[in-house]
Symmetry: none
Subunit: 430 residues, 2 copies
């Protein structure tokens, strides 16, 4: 009886361990090695990597990824938009693929983690499934999207709304988007064939660094993305009157830069006056004629507003326009707003997928919070054609688009494990 | 006896007419033509002229002036500071030259009259003296000063206080001052040879447009300049932290442009808070990286303060620095002031020369007033080494440093006639 009790006790102790053990995990060291291997493509003498879309380094890195995917037994190709596609077959021929991935192109002077964590994390997920001989009902599709930084080119193409008018836009390599697409192995004339319809993909997941400082500051492992904020851009023009800075008394000036300064402060005050996470930014300014001894007659600034709600963006904009009109009346400087072609509607992540991500996080005993993404991502375009979700991991110091960008090995592994578990859960539930 | 009376009467009638006739005049049409010819150097497709110092247009215009001076029989050269010098010999070898002139370089998007009226007026004076075969005791020296707009480079060099530290400063052509000086035919290594000592020049006169609206508003022909306000320049650097405009919450930003905007407003408020005619201007601004979707990490602006009193300039600057320190503390953006080599002490015009200008104005039956100059001029540096005077003519609408700058033909001719008569009077009295 005592023996029996001991056996029962031992079993009660072992069973949960076995269950925990059954939850497969990514290999953290291998994931870090992949990140470092990828950083070799475009590495400079100063030890930093440059890999703007369409560069030789970008083309070579894509080829390296294809070879990795092939080694892991996936069917691979580059689609007409220059996206790298890898398919791992499913067991149920009636099922559409569960897709996941990110991008490997970088902004100039960018870091090793933006896009790369999600891309290398996706490869690691496949590797772990292979190692554990786990088959899925759904085909699994790895997508490494082309030219994310230059206007989410690859994902826009898959969502079927990449416009030909974007083709002439050059990036810092000197290639236009059209030329760059061809360089990657795409085909501008067959771009329409890349577009997918609703129902073609069962679900989409993207692992990505947060690029803000919230998770680190709150000491959290994972962010569940509620949605990707929409954004709108304007050029704002201030027309005063250029005049001699020595001979024009203070009270006889129509100083366009003084009006622009008041506007920049107003933008900040308006953005802060609303409850919520909306942001408004003036990042660009040009004053003419731009000499120390001339009162500026004309100034042009940018204006960007982002929020998860289009209505909030409109309300912030309206409040800014009202303040601008007051500044114009006081100063005699004419202020005009010119709407830019650069806009993105807010993209809401699928509620069921968000719940599934939360379950995976809990099963891994990680801490988390739900949050919006302030930055644009490929997932926002994928969300137009399939239920989508995003998993954020912390960025050290909130720094991104900089060589100082950093995410720790354990944070990357946590994110990849959440991705892995969510894929397996969705494979069962969808 | 009757005949004798008639003769006497006739003589009394004729003599004043002869005297009046003896007062030679400039040729108004020829002066206007010179202004228009000069405006061809640097003319753009939009009909406006660009001729920033060191530009191809500036170099070509200097060569054109040299050919004009040579045609008029002057000995010409370009000195080591890039000034055009033309000497018309005097009859008394013991006399030092009476010098006069102005500049032909322009601010970006400037007008056809600033500097050009005094330069072309000086050429016209020489032409009229030649036509009337008038010889002077003193040599007459025409000086077309180099790079007036970029810090009265040429006149500072002649006054012997152009500092080498100014050489690396670039203007909008992209050339540094040192490179530009070489382009004009100067020589940075032999600059010291250009400096003149007190006594080397008998007197200096400069004809110039007012660049303010006072003469026009009061319907006066001529301004006799009492003195030129002093000015100081600084570069002001704002160091925040560049970050992603989407992912960085409003309260986590170190926005260098927002701090710069507060500074621009503070400069205006401080200048307005003092009694008097002091002016303070921010004319130049550069934000980095300068993209609509990046929070500016670094901004550089100019700061200029002018007044007839050096003490007032210092007080205004101290008040601005105090406000900048408050802005820096609130925003976490580091603000640093870098004093520019471009400074000018207030310069008082010579009292005797002012009287002589007044006599010339009265002999021409023109209206006038005595006034300070809010703008810096080459005369302020010349005043350091020789008794100097300035003659102002009206600017339409007080507009200057603008393509809309305008001075009428008769106003220009009036000014050139005052210059001519003052030179002749000084030749007799000095």
């Amino acid at each position: 009886m005592n023996n029996c009790k001991n056996l029962l006790f031992t079993l009660l102790l072992i069973i949960p361990m076995v269950v925990v053990k059954a939850q497969i995990s990514v290999n953290q060291d291998r994931l870090v090695k992949r990140i470092m291997d990828l950083a070799q493509f475009g590495i400079q003498e100063n030890g930093q990597t440059e890999r703007v879309a369409f560069s030789d380094a970008d083309v070579a890195a894509q080829q390296w990824i294809i070879s990795q995917l092939k080694e892991m037994g996936l069917e691979t190709h580059i689609d007409f938009a220059g996206n790298v596609i890898g398919i791992r077959k499913g067991t149920d021929a009636s099922k559409k693929p569960i897709s996941f991935g990110s991008h490997i192109d970088r902004v100039p002077h960018g870091g090793n983690y933006d896009g790369c964590v999600g891309s290398m994390g996706s490869l690691e997920v496949i590797k772990v499934l292979n190692e554990n001989s786990i088959k899925t009902k759904h085909p699994l599709e790895v997508i490494i999207f082309s030219n994310e930084e230059g206007g989410v080119m690859g994902s826009r193409a898959i969502a079927g709304h990449l416009n030909e008018t974007a083709f002439p836009v050059k990036n810092s390599t000197g290639y236009t988007m059209g030329e760059g697409m061809m360089r990657l192995g795409g085909d501008t004339l067959r771009l329409a064939e890349v577009a997918r319809k609703t129902g073609d993909v069962a679900a989409f997941l993207e692992l990505h660094i947060e690029q803000g400082g919230i998770l680190e500051k709150e000491n959290l492992d994972i962010g569940i993305v509620e949605g990707i904020v929409g954004l709108k851009w304007w050029d704002v023009e201030f027309k005063g009157f250029a005049n001699h800075a020595g001979t024009t008394p203070m009270n006889a000036r129509k100083d366009a830069l003084l009006a622009a300064a008041k506007f920049i402060i107003a933008v900040n005050e308006v953005a802060n006056s609303f409850e919520g996470a909306q942001v408004a930014t003036v990042g660009k300014i040009l004053a003419e004629p731009g000499a120390p001894n001339v009162i500026p007659g004309k100034v042009i600034t940018s204006l960007e507003i982002r929020d998860l709600s289009s209505e909030v963006i409109k309300n912030v904009y309206d409040a800014i326009v009202k303040r601008a009109s007051e500044i114009s009346q006081e100063s005699g400087v004419k202020i005009s707003f010119f709407k830019s072609d650069t806009t993105a509607d807010p993209a809401i992540m699928d509620a069921t997928i968000q719940k599934q991500i939360k379950k995976s996080i809990k099963s891994l005993s990680l801490s988390y919070k739900s949050m919006p993404s302030g930055a644009g991502h490929d997932a926002q375009d994928m969300a137009l054609i399939t239920p989508s979700g995003m998993i954020f991991v912390p960025s050290k110091g909130g720094i991104s688009h900089s060589p100082q960008e950093f995410t720790s090995a354990s944070d990357m592994a946590n994110g990849a494990n959440v991705l892995l578990n969510t894929i397996l859960a969705l494979d069962k539930s969808l």
